[in-house]
Every structure is written in structure tokens, then in C-alpha cells.
Symmetry: D3
Subunit: 178 residues, 6 copies
């Protein structure tokens, strides 16, 4: 179990003994099933439901955002220099409507020697950017908020679950869903 | 000047008369200089300066994040399905250290028929994901916050400047810098 | 007007004087507006409407295919070695249901020194492959048929319109639509 | 053996219980050797042999098409949103000349948890597009026909072989070749 | 004319006033025709002609290397972080056989606000890597030598021509060829 | 042990029985740990240390080159047509300053059915191109030299070590480092 103390300590695994960042060599590790869930919100001062209703492309927008997230997850290693190229076993992106926000949830699963957190976070970020684009036409102050890890399992650190959240408590999405 | 009212209205330019999303045809528009600035924070409950000091790769991390942002901006149209492929004239990403956050600012400039907002936002998102990765090793609750447009100029809507911000007031970065 | 005689003649523009294929140098040409429309069918012995109705993901499938086509058009130069990298001004993909087929139509427009035919054809091919994938689960004999250019305008050769088609006559899509 | 009845039935594996398309989670499956062969024709009203003879780049064109197919197979997951990223063990593209057509055959092999049909089909499509490009200069009515699966083995459904074909009977390529 | 003195001086254009590398903003510059030629050798202790003759794929190898170079030139901005995405007007790669080496020459032309040197050099590097791969099977000591700029024209600095070369004098390729 | 005789012999593994190059089918091979080290120099007539000191971006340049090399290694199969897509377990790029050159060393490790030499060489080439770009501003005659394999282990041929080098003897980098 990874501590959830928020205190930096020890040496990061992606820095070598000379202080140079490099891509961690995972050769010795055994491939195991790992799952990560990430989330974020696309927030606007306007109301989401009428916004979507006013555009016949509303359903298309949700689908566009989901596909963009799935495809971005597959190219995470092209976006994050020190991320390993991994084969994602499964990836899903769900988008829920709230009064003033889209809630984006991405779940990614792998059977690899390294974690899948960055893939889930990258999927969320890409989906959120797709949703943000048309919202900016009517609300240039709209923003992406609390892009964060929500749940992970597998690997050395076992299961970790975000215990609470300032803005996300009471959400309807099931964090245990994979 | 684009209204900053946050109210959805009218028809979105990327939806055609049948309600199908498509890539807007910008043929008729004249190429003009456009600039957009976007920002976000990578927030942790730990302290940023000791975190970086404890890792000799700290400077490398900042550079890695900056390059990842610059490269992500160049592939925005591969991440956002309906974004046009554009030639970015210039892109810069700056990362400032705050007590509990990295403040990421990206400025992108083009001479094109379409805006550059998504490129600046995508650069911020990618840089923030790079910074978030090592922070998650010590604080899995770390998050990316307020990824938002800060300034834009050029195109039909002229200059728009975010007038204030809950979390970003008093920032030291100069929004006029290009 | 390009002749429609189907007889090879003269020297191809992408072959140099020594018979080596290379990427044609278009430096001298002036950028002009060019539009191309391409089409194909994804054919199955089963019935399309019940197939889609039996899957709640049917609407999503259509959207997935459209976005895949749009994104593939933007990376045509990465797929076709001798194609120029161009900025597509607009791209649209429409998918119509027939009794035993999906009819895919892609229209692409540019303001460049070279044609946009390959981008429209590549969009059709990618959309058709996305549609074909789930159909293969129930009909492994399903196929993509008559992937072909339907209309083009702009450039030295002016307007060209496919005058008839064995399988596509009477189609409901408007070839003049851009 | 997969049924070859062409009748939709059951629920597609890439649609979840809520009808949302997602990338199928293949975690539970064991990696096995799978092979798929796909084919298509690039058809023109002109004659292929004189067409190639009239261009010294003819041999280069065949090679260009083969390499484009091989490279496209490796990026199938970037073109088809719900395709898994897989490591292709081997891929080969053969191009045969017929009187009025190029016959393109692609064979792909993997040792993975998911099939390789889309990779073989994508290789065929990309090779065919490369061949089509110069043919369009002399015959804008040229088309890609019968892009279809020809043979597959491995996975749950075992060996499947296309039993006949309207246009491809008597072909010289050996469908058993891997 | 750019000086050819080999002495570092002044401030590099891709470093801003705070010493941070960024992508140079080329907004103010007018697009002009620019051409660059680069070269390198793939050297082996074995003899090239028998090496190619012993493999029926020899001609294919030359074509593979040429296409790889052309395609790499188009993605230079994805490989070199601070390179601008540009539309290459034309690119050609020629490969000549010497007794113990392949001589690779790439010429790239653009009409842009920035130079095309890196595209020509990247094309050479990719072609050379393709040629090196099979040579390594028989001579693991083979190497790529003198990858260097040979000629450039256009832009502020006008025409520059490499005046001589330790290893490349007397070469048969025409540096004026574009 | 691979012979180091520099004499072509036998048939290359990437050429099939008909002399057509294809992507070698590695299905039968067992995944094993393989490591490759490659090197090159970026040579200039100027002095490297003052060159870097004259630019505050000097440290950034080294980091940019290292990240570009790491990212290029991950996309080797997109640059070299017949290379397999592989998951790199670890990749590191080190850059040392010499009086008139940057010495670039890349080490890549995999657990796969095929070698990792091309990935190490591609990383070197990309890092060297990044370093070359600013040097060309002051010395257009600068060049990349002796891009070559230095060490490899794993696979059928076991350990191979370059025994000496015209230009690289006495280097400070440790060829055994992984």
C-alpha cells in the first residue's frame, strides 16, 4: 500500500544514481494485472444540459470525447517522455453530466511490468480537452478541474483508493468499476 | 471581444445543419496572427521545493515537462479529432514553483485561419502530466487544477483576457508575454 | 478536365527523369482551393438496420467511424509515403445505411499546392475499416467495395465528376455537397 | 469455426452492458498465436502491365506499396479507435499483377490476447491506396474492390477460410501461406 | 552568406532572454523558398556490391531506405522537440553504391518561414539506419559517418555550399540538384 | 558470438525465399532479455564548452537531446519499416562533452523475441540531431560521426563487444553500463 501522506521522501524511481532522469528499467519485474481509475471535471458557469440540447451534435460530442480519451491512452508513451510503451488490455471512458460540469472517468487495465496510472490520467485529459473546446465558444472561462487519480490496484503497492474529495464526493460513478 | 458570460447560446460552429459534428471548413477565412495563453497548476499537499531538491533530476523534470508540452502542442490535431492541423509559429512553456504547486503557462502563436487555444491548452495538459507523474509517487492525491484559457488575441473575436481567478490572482507570470 | 479514358499515357508526375519515385516538388504552384469527394461501401449479406438495432452501441459505431475517418485524413501523409503534408481546411464524413451496406462518403477541402484526393480516400478507408470490424464478428465474409473518387474540383484539371457507377447509381448522397 | 451465415445475432463483444462501445478488456485471455490474411484489388479499366512499363518507377511503386502496408499494420491501433495496441510478430504484403488490377494480399501474425484481422485489413487498405494514387492520374474511375478477410486461424474461433469469391477465384496467391 | 568559421559566437536564436530553450517564434518572417541538401555514408569493411547481389532483396532495400527517409523528413518536428511543423514542398533521397559504403543524399525544399536543414538531415539519418540494419547482420562494426549539411539556399543567410570534405570529395552526386 | 569479419555471407533473415524484404516472423522465438549500446559523436571545429557556456540554454540542450533520444527509441518501428514494434524495458541516453564533440551513448533493454540494436542506434541518431541543430548556427560544417553499435547481449548471438575504435578509444563512458 502506498502511503497517502503527501510528503516527499526517498529517491524517485525514475532518477538514476547520477540524478539524471531516465526511463526506468523494469526488466526484473513480473508482468501483473494493474488497473487505474482517473477523473476530472470540465466546469463552466453555464448549464450543461441546455448547452448540449442546443446543439444536435451533443451526443456526438460525448462520443468524440470518449474516443479521443481511448486513443490518447494508447499513445501515452508518445506524450510523456519517460513512460514505457505498454499494451493496454482494456480502456473505458465514461462521461456524466452534472449541472455545471462534465464528469470524466477513465479506467485502464494492463498486464505489464509497470503501472497504468498515466494512461488513465492521459485519457481523462484528452477527453476533457475535447469537451472543453465547444464550451469555450460560449464560456471562455471554462476550466478542467481536479484531474486526479481515483483508484489503483496491482503492482507492488496493492490497492489504493482516494478516500474523499473536496469536489467529487457524492458522485454517482462507481469507483470500483473497472 | 468574446462575451464572457458563460451562457450557452446560438449554434456551435463545429456542428453542421444536420447536427453532425465535423471539422469546420475554414477555407474562406484569411490567415491572421493569433496568440493564446493557457495555464494550470499541479497541486500537492507536500512542498514543491524540497521535493525537487530531494531529487537530482529536478531540473531535468522541469525541462522534460517543457519539452513534452511543446511537442504535445504540435500534435494537438492528432489528439483532438476536430482540430485542424496547423503550423505553430512559436510555442513556449514556462514552469514556476509555488509552495505547493507547479504553475504551468503555455503561450502559442500561429498565422492561420483558425484559433490556437487548443494548442496552448494541450501543451499545458501534457506538461502538467509530466510533472504529476513523479509527484504521484509520494502523493497519490496530487491533482491538476484550473486548466484554463488565460488570454487570447487575433481572429474575429479580438483580444480576450481572463479578468480574475479564484486561485491564480497575484500570479507572477505576465499574461501579455508571448 | 481530366480525361476519364482509363488509358495510361505520358509520364507520371511523381516519377523523376531517372525513373525514381520521389515526392513531387510543388514549389512553383500557387495554393488554390481544391475539394475531393470519395466513397465506398461496407457490404454484408446480413441486414444493416437490425444489426445496428441489436447493439446499443450502434450510434456510437457511426460516430466512431466518422471520427476515425476525420483523423485518418489528417495523417494521410504518414500513411502514403509520397503524399505531401497538407493542412486540411475542412473534412466531413457521412455514413448512410442501406439494406445490406453502409455507404461512406468523405469530402475534404484544402487551399494548397497539391490535390486532396488521397485525403478523402484515406478518410473513407479508415471509416469503412471501423464499420467493418464489428460486422466481421457476425459475417466474416463482409467486405469493403468500390472505394473510389467521386468528385473533385480545383487545381489544373478543374472539375471532374464520376458520371455513373455500377453499384452507386441512385445514391442519395449529394456529390456536390462539400 | 466461426459461422459464416451473415446474420447478426447476440451481443457484440466491444459493446458493454450499457450499450457504450469501449475497448474490450482482454485481460483474462491467454496469448496465443493468431494469423490473418486479407486481400483486395486495385481495379482500373486500363492495362496494368503497360501502365507499369511506361513508368520507370514501376518497381519502386510496388515496393512503396508493400512498405506502406507493413507500416500501416503497425499503426492499426492509431487508426481504429477500439483496436488494441499489439506487437505484430510478422507481416508480409504481396502484390500480384493481373490484366486490369493489382491483387494485394497481406498476412499478419501475432502472439497476443486479441485477433490480428484488422491489422491485415489495414495493411491491404494502405498498400492499395498507394497503388491507387498514380493510377488515378490516368484513370480517375479506378477503385479498390473486395477488401476482405480471406483466412484466419488461432483464438477461440479456430481456423476460418473464405470458401469462394466472386472475383477472386482462381487467384494464384496461396491462402495458406503465412 | 553564413560564415563557415566554426567559431561559436552571439546568442542562439532558439534560446530566449532568460536562457530557456523554446520554439522560435517565426511570425514576423515572410515565407520564402528554401532548399537544403544533406549527406552521410553507411560504411562497412565488406564490399557493398556483392552484399546486395547476395540478397534478392537488394533493390527493395534501396527503395525501403529511400521511403523511410522521405517519411522521416515529414515527421522531423515529431523527433526534434524545437523544430517547427512545416509543409515540405518536395523531398528526394538518392542512394549511391561505393566500394565499401552507401552514400545517402537527401534534398528537401520548402516555402516557409524557417529552414529545412533538419528535415534533410533527418531524412539522411533514417535512410542510413535502414541501410545499416541488414549490414549489421554481417558486419556489426559498420557505422554511419559524416552525416552533415552539404548545401543550403534561401532565408536570410543565402546560399551556403560545403567547400570540401575529407571523405566526400570527388563524389558523383550533384550538389546543385534539387 | 556473432562473427566480426565484415564479410557478407548467407541469406539475410529479413529477406524471404522470393527475395522480397518483409518483417521477419519471430513467432517461434522465446522472449529473452536483450541489451544494446550504441554511440556517436557530434563533431565541430569550435570548442564545445564555450559554446554551451555562451548559451544559458546549454543545460536545457543536453536534456532536450536526451529526451528526444528516449522518445525516438520508442518510435523506432515507425521510422524503420521492417522493425518490429517492441516494448522497451528501459532506455537511457548519456551525453558527454569532449573538446570538440558531444559523445552520445544510448543503452536500450528489452525482453522480446527480437533485438534492440536499432532502438539504441535510433536514440543516438535523434539525440545527435538535436545537438547538431544549434551547432549548425555557428558551424555549418559540423557533422555526426561514427554512429555505431558498441555492445550487445542476449538473443542467439550472445555477447558482442566492439573491441576498439579509431575515434572512440579512451572514452570515459563505460560500455558495460546498462
Amino acid at each position: 500500500m502506498t502511503d497517502d501522506h503527501g510528503e516527499p521522501s526517498g529517491r524517485l524511481t525514475h532518477v538514476d544514481e547520477h540524478g539524471k532522469a531516465h526511463m526506468v528499467d523494469v526488466t526484473g519485474k513480473a508482468p501483473t494485472r494493474r488497473v487505474a481509475q482517473a477523473r476530472c471535471r470540465v466546469c463552466t458557469s453555464g448549464e450543461i444540459a441546455p448547452f448540449l440540447a442546443s446543439t444536435q451534435g451533443g451526443i456526438g460530442l460525448i462520443e468524440e470525447a470518449r474516443y479521443a480519451g481511448i486513443m490518447a491512452a494508447k499513445r501515452t508513451s508518445m506524450l510523456i517522455p519517460l513512460c514505457h510503451s505498454i499494451r493496454i488490455d482494456g480502456i473505458d471512458v465514461a462521461i456524466e453530466l452534472e449541472e455545471h460540469a462534465f464528469l470524466v472517468t477513465a479506467v485502464a487495465a494492463i498486464t505489464e511490468r509497470t503501472g497504468v496510472e498515466m494512461e488513465a490520467l492521459t485519457a481523462c485529459a484528452a477527453s476533457a480537452l475535447v469537451l472543453l473546446q465547444p464550451v469555450l465558444e460560449v464560456d471562455p472561462r471554462a476550466s478542467i478541474e481536479e484531474l486526479t487519480l481515483w483508484h489503483k490496484s496491482g503492482g507492488r503497492s496493492g490497492v489504493w483508493q482516494r478516500s474523499d474529495s473536496k469536489t467529487m464526493r457524492g458522485g454517482t460513478a462507481n469507483p470500483n468499476r473497472e
